[in-house]
């Protein structure tokens, strides 16, 4: 049996501690150990963006990221984005713009959009496309996703973050 390592990380605002295999991915840890299945696996190789979460605020694929590398860091999954007050403006914008079809790429796209809008509150269309170019959506042709992120930018401009 391989040696397990102790990891401690913050997931959606709560500290969690676990003994994990050094090879276990953050994706597997979130989905299998914490039952946070909102983070999806699309390719297992970091090529599609379905498994993106925020690690210390930055979008990261998790299918190729060992959980041991996230020691002490803060992870936000899609389950952590909406608050008691309701959906996050990005989530609202995805619904309003019709940017969701099957929804499998949506969690990763939404969190990538949050990473972008936190850094660049009013991105150009090119900046939006650049940001989500590491994600695959096979349903929407990206058109309404780009619209949703633009709409989210407007919604967030008006609100206190």
């Amino acid at each position: 049996m391989e040696k397990k390592v102790l990891v401690r990380l913050k997931v959606n605002g709560e500290w969690v501690e676990a003994r994990v295999s050094p090879r276990q991915t953050l994706l597997d840890f979130l989905r299998e150990d914490l039952n946070l299945t909102g983070t999806k696996e699309g390719c297992g190789a970091g090529d599609c963006g379905a498994c993106v979460v925020l690690v210390d605020g930055r979008a990261r694929t998790t299918c190729n990221l060992p959980v041991s590398k996230v020691q002490g860091l803060e992870v936000m999954t899609i389950e952590g984005l909406a608050t008691g007050a309701g959906l996050h403006p990005i989530q609202e914008a995805f619904i309003d713009a019709g940017a969701i079809q099957c929804g499998y790429c949506t969690p990763g796209m939404v969190l990538q959009a949050k990473d972008l809008l936190d850094r660049v509150p009013e991105p150009t269309e090119e900046e939006i496309k650049e940001a989500i170019d590491s994600h695959i959506c096979r349903c929407t042709g990206y058109v309404k996703i780009v619209e949703a992120i633009r709409l989210a930018s407007q919604k967030m401009k008006g609100s206190v973050q």
């Binding site: 983070t39 090529d47 989530q91 019709g98 099957c102 949506t106 096979r138 042709g141 058109v143």
Partner: protein, 765 residues
């Protein structure tokens, strides 16, 4: 208040955007094991022995099944009579990826380790990968007893083709090739299987076809159909790729042997090597016309490479060989079609069902003809376009046909005529510009597979709280059909859409339905939902009328209230629902709506004639491109897509369907190909199999033409599939307009363009 025609949000959007929706691959049951498949590493060979002893001894392994130990019946997909596959290969493997054995263990790592411990001894035999080679005498037989590997062939004959060609002023001919491309839905196939104490199986699967799955898996497992319950899970995309799939019954067999529930999920590599991608085709097509543009004759030979197993190949070949003949008024037709086995991954349905392949040929040939006679390609199409009321040589009755309007409107919005004239002169440096058009049609549900079954049913239930549950046999595959059905029910019942839920399909509970494919849902199931909702409304109004002492015809439902015809509210919907439930001793209002389209039939087995659908959608798309004559790179600058969808029930969802189809069409035209070398897929991941990303998508202009089909609910017809079909030929025609090079192979490659431009320049000098 009406929900029809409004941009209503997905009714499950909040579940999706918060990550709380449980997809098939998210599903778990207590005590579940994990299964993995051992696949053939060789393209063609005999399995001499399988030694699974070491795997069975491994701690954590609960079951190992092999094709030699299990007595598995041969089977095929629903409706197919020729049984050419088994869940696990018995004597022979036929492609790299063929299922040989499977393991269930307490975790995935142990299952994978166990696969490595299974020793299989193969005797390799010659393999054949090219369909034309496979058709030659003496080619290695993929299936014993299938002559020249021709799994199915068909001949279609109408009119006098030879005479029509003699009368033609212009004749164009070319051979077109389309590649092996993958649906590349984002969620890989997944399944959870569990047997109960009575030997009844439950499958939780993200599938487009719960009922067909039940039929097919019963055959594959050699058990009766009623011993299988399929519970459809939400799925991360499908696009035709989630019809029946071998992983599901394999998982069931593992669960039976392990006596525990088992879950299996494909890796992306397995997706690319062992699922059911689009059937590649080689299509030789020839057509002739008069000087004035009248299309006279068309001849074609379609060779469809179905890979190792039939699957839906026969239906796809039929579709590719015949559907495109109905687009234009054409009387003289001669087509030979062949479905050919090769030692490659088996193929299947993918958005368009043979049409993206055949329309690439037809719509290229149409441009070649119009070029020959010096006629504008849009005018050529308009001259020959099928029209409402036509009965085609294949006996399709076109109850509505907006083809002419889609051509006119896309031409207008894309500034077709001026750009056709001006773009060739716009050349700047290495950049050349062009604009091209292509059209297509499709079905709204297709009478192909099951002789005994057509149409769709729906149940509508109003519980005592006034909440409405709609049950259908057609899963929402991500396109939003649950929302469409909720809109229809809400509209007919006069209630807010928030009061309506649409259940996932469960074969123990839902009506029998063929499932979601062939653009069936909106038209067939939509009609059934509409009828069920009307009936439920009438039951409720009867009940309210008794209570109110009024006649039912004096009442209606409006804004969630029972009202008199002048609109004054008399009773809450909920109150009436409660009353109806109590009157029925707690039984809720439950109605069943049926839609069985009239005058629709299976095709004649010989002539292939038959009105296979109750409504036919039409599309015209215009692509504007920039071609770099140095590098050969094609850039799509814009797409104008006009769709005769009959009636737009939800513009938000309809636009989404067009956008997604355009993206997939661009992938098919310019980017995607599963590269197979000696039977092995050499690019089984998204790094090397490139699907369109955000930066690959040009601006898309979407136009909806509402031809109001008499058979569609509110006039609605299919949309999602034909929206993909014309993209490749539209782009190819635009490339020809830009640089005078006719591309006949997909994906269109810059290297081919460079090569052909060079050849052309040499020819000139």
């Amino acid at each position: 208040m009406t929900a029809i025609g409004k941009p209503v949000h997905l009714i499950d959007a909040v579940d999706k955007v918060t990550g709380s929706l449980k997809y098939g691959s998210d599903y778990k049951v207590p005590g579940m094991l994990y299964g993995k498949v051992l696949r053939s590493p060789i393209a063609h060979g005999r399995t001499l022995s399988i030694d699974a002893r070491a795997a069975r001894r491994l701690t954590g392994v609960r079951a190992v099944i092999t094709g030699q130990e299990e007595d598995l019946p041969p089977y095929s997909v629903a409706g197919e009579r020729f049984f050419d596959e088994r869940l696990l290969a018995k004597e022979k493997v036929r492609y790299i990826g063929d299922e040989v054995a499977a393991v269930a263990a307490t975790d995935e790592a142990t299952a994978r380790e166990a696969l490595r411990l299974i020793k299989v001894e193969y005797e390799e035999i010659p393999a054949v990968f090219d369909p034309l080679e496979a058709m030659r005498e003496g080619a290695p037989p993929v299936h014993d007893g299938v002559e020249r590997n021709i799994a199915r062939s068909m001949k279609i004959r109408h009119g006098d083709v030879d005479a029509a060609f003699r009368e033609s002023d212009a004749v164009a001919e070319a051979t077109f090739r389309t590649p092996l491309v993958h649906q590349a839905y984002m969620e890989p196939h997944s399944v959870v299987a569990q047997w109960d104490a009575h030997g009844r199986l439950t499958l939780w699967i993200p599938t487009q076809v719960p009922r067909l799955a039940q039929m097919t898996y019963a055959n594959a497992l050699g058990i009766s159909r009623e011993r299988i319950r399929v519970i459809q899970m939400p799925m991360g995309g499908a696009f035709g790729g989630k019809l029946e799939y071998k992983l599901h019954p394999l998982c069931a067999l593992l669960a039976l042997r392990a006596q525990a529930p088992v879950k299996m999920t494909n890796t992306r590599k397995e997706e690319f090597t062992a699922t059911l991608p689009r059937v590649p085709m080689i299509i030789r097509m020839k057509a002739g016309c008069k000087k004035d543009g009248t299309l006279l004759a068309k001849e074609a030979e379609v060779v469809a490479d179905c890979g190792a197993y039939l699957n839906y190949g026969p239906g796809i070949l039929l579709s590719a060989a015949s559907r495109h003949d109905n687009l234009y008024r054409l009387k003289n037709i001669r087509t030979d079609g062949y479905l050919v086995y090769t030692n490659k991954v088996a193929t299947g349905a993918f958005r368009g069902f043979g049409c993206p392949q055949s329309f690439f040929a037809l719509e290229s040939i149409i441009d070649m003809l119009s070029d020959d006679i010096g006629m504008d390609p849009a005018d050529f199409r308009l001259k020959n376009a099928s029209r409402t009321g036509d009965t085609t040589p294949h006996k399709w009755y076109l109850g509505s046909c907006g083809l002419t309007e889609t051509i006119e409107k896309s031409a207008e919005k894309a500034e077709w005529y001026s750009k056709r004239r001006l773009l060739p002169q716009k050349r700047s440096g290495d950049l050349a510009y062009g604009i091209g058009m292509a059209c297509c049609l499709h079905v709204s549900g297709n009478r192909t597979f099951l002789p005994f079954f057509d149409g769709a049913s729906a149940y509508v239930r109003i519980d005592e709280e006034g909440l409405v549950i709609v049950q259908v046999g057609e899963p929402d595959i991500g396109q939003g059909s649950k929302t469409t059905f909720a809109q229809i029910a809400a509209h007919e019942m006069g209630i807010p859409i928030e009061w309506v839920n649409v259940a996932a399909v469960d074969t123990d509970i839902s009506p029998h339905g063929l499932g979601t494919f062939g653009d069936r849902s909106t038209t067939l199931t939509g009609n059934a939902v509409r009828r069920a909702a009307i009936q439920a409304r009438e039951v409720l109004l009867d009940c309210a009328a008794r209570k109110l002492g009024k006649s039912p015809s004096s009442l209606r439902i409006e804004g969630g209230r029972i009202a008199s015809q002048d609109g004054s509210a008399l009773m809450e919907f909920r109150e009436a629902a409660e009353l109806a439930s109590y009157e029925a001793a707690g039984g809720t209002v439950m109605s069943q709506g049926r839609f069985l389209p009239e005058n629709v039939s299976m095709v004649d087995p010989q002539t292939k004639e038959g009105n296979i659908s109750c409504a036919y959608p039409f599309v015209a798309q215009v692509a504007e491109v920039e071609v770099n004559v140095k590098s050969g790179k094609i850039r799509v600058l814009s797409l104008t897509a006009a769709h005769d969808l009959g009636k737009t029930i939800n513009p938000l969802l309809a636009e989404g369907q067009v956008h997604g189809a355009v993206a997939q069409g661009i992938g098919f035209a310019l980017m995607e190909e599963m590269v197979v070398k000696d039977g092995k897929v050499t690019n089984p991941d998204f790094k090397r199999y490139r699907v369109p990303r955000a930066k690959d998508i040009p601006p898309i202009r979407t136009i909806f033409v509402e031809s109001n089909d008499p058979n569609g609910p509110y006039g609605a017809k299919g949309l999602a599939e034909p929206a993909l079909t014309p993209i490749a030929p539209a782009i190819s025609n635009a490339v020809y307009h830009a640089i005078g090079i006719r591309l006949t192979e997909l994906p269109m490659r810059s290297a081919t363009i460079r090569h052909m431009l060079k050849k052309k320049a040499q020819g000139r000098s």
